[in-house]
Amino acid sequence: MTTPASAPRLARSATQPESFRADGDLLMAGQPAVPFVEIEALRVKEFIPAAKEALTDLIAEQGQSKLIRPVFNWAGRNSLFPLHWGLACCAIEFAAAFGARWDAERFGVVPRSSPRQCDLMIVNGTVTWKVAHKLITLYEQMPEPKWVIAMGNCATGGGPFRTAYSVVPGVDKLVPVDVYIAGCPPRPEAMLDGILRLETLIRERKE
């Protein structure tokens, strides 16, 4: 297949990362157009960060776009994966909300065990000082954008145990909380209501 003389060179532009420009310049300097020479140049150590950067740029650009942003917003609020963990009493109601009667999966809420795949941390129970740093670690392991729901009174403000020596009086002392759900423990409906409120918050959010 013959190729037009200038075709492969058109792609080189200023948007290229630094590491590539040297090879690109070589091409521009009238070297014989060896096919796949740029693939030779893609050494691993340069490729991975460059690709990541490009991807991040792309996403950021699309995030700014007026056309794309509503789509991502819609996707983000309709597919909230909470972290699958149980702290205390509220965890039982949390589980009940995923049971047959309430079925939180109707809203696209599917608990995932790995924090890397979650967008939402539902703090469903008493947070003690012993578990506090683990909670923060988990929160930091979740990729952006992420949200936190303080479910129940213990997560909101320590609940009946707030005077105790071992209890964090409110998870908002540790991580930023988006929605508080009162209740001790809240009914599964109340938890779903909290998630719907979070969806409303995401919809109204201005970036």
Binding site: V179, P186, L201
Partner: protein, 258 residues
Amino acid sequence: MSDVTATEKPDENPILWVARPMATAARQFAKSLFRPSTIVYPYERLEDPKFRDRLDVASGKPFGVGQVWDNYRGVHALNIATCISCNLCAFSCPDVCIDMVTTAGSDPKHPKKCPQIDYGKCSYCGFCSDACPEGCLTMTTRYELSVSKRSDMIYPPERLFEVFRSKLPMNPIRLARPENEDAILLDPPLCIGCNACARDCPTQCITMLDVPKPEAKPGEKLPKRIWKEPVVNDSDCVRCGTCISVCPKECLFWGTRK
């Protein structure tokens, strides 16, 4: 072993080993194909009349069985008009989430104090509504309380009054107030007749009656006091103990009236 009560009957047929659970799942699938037992929450609610007092558990749809909501303990409703500011709810709260605050619009000279509830601390135990002598603080069936600001969880009396006016079903079971022998007693020598108890009594059941001023014996100085003593009307008293706590001389105490 003869002791063993929980045993299984082993099955010899290996085909059934996988077939039986799969058949059970298939039966469930057929049952829930058209009407699973899910309640489509924001559109259907369990406290709807169509789910209330439902008894059709045998029909294969187990939702809504025995949904009796009258008893449910949710957000409080406060009838400000009948509240007597007796403090009993705040006293009985195990989580110390009730504050008595001045109601908006009350007379600044005689501020009316009504409970303000922090739902971030409340554990919905119902002790406060049990303790309320006038039945003005009750619990309703409202349970949705998600907010994005922590301070929105604090319900001042006016907001509790709004809940009252929204005519939600309220907890009908009221505790019978047991007959009890406890009463407010007075240690007369200590009393100075200051009227503090009668002034602060929420039910106005304390009246200050005159006591005869004793004749001063020679060499003895009469105490400097107002010659009145409180008398408690036991049938009206709600045993809130306000009088004991306001008494400057600690002359009132709990006791049994013979």
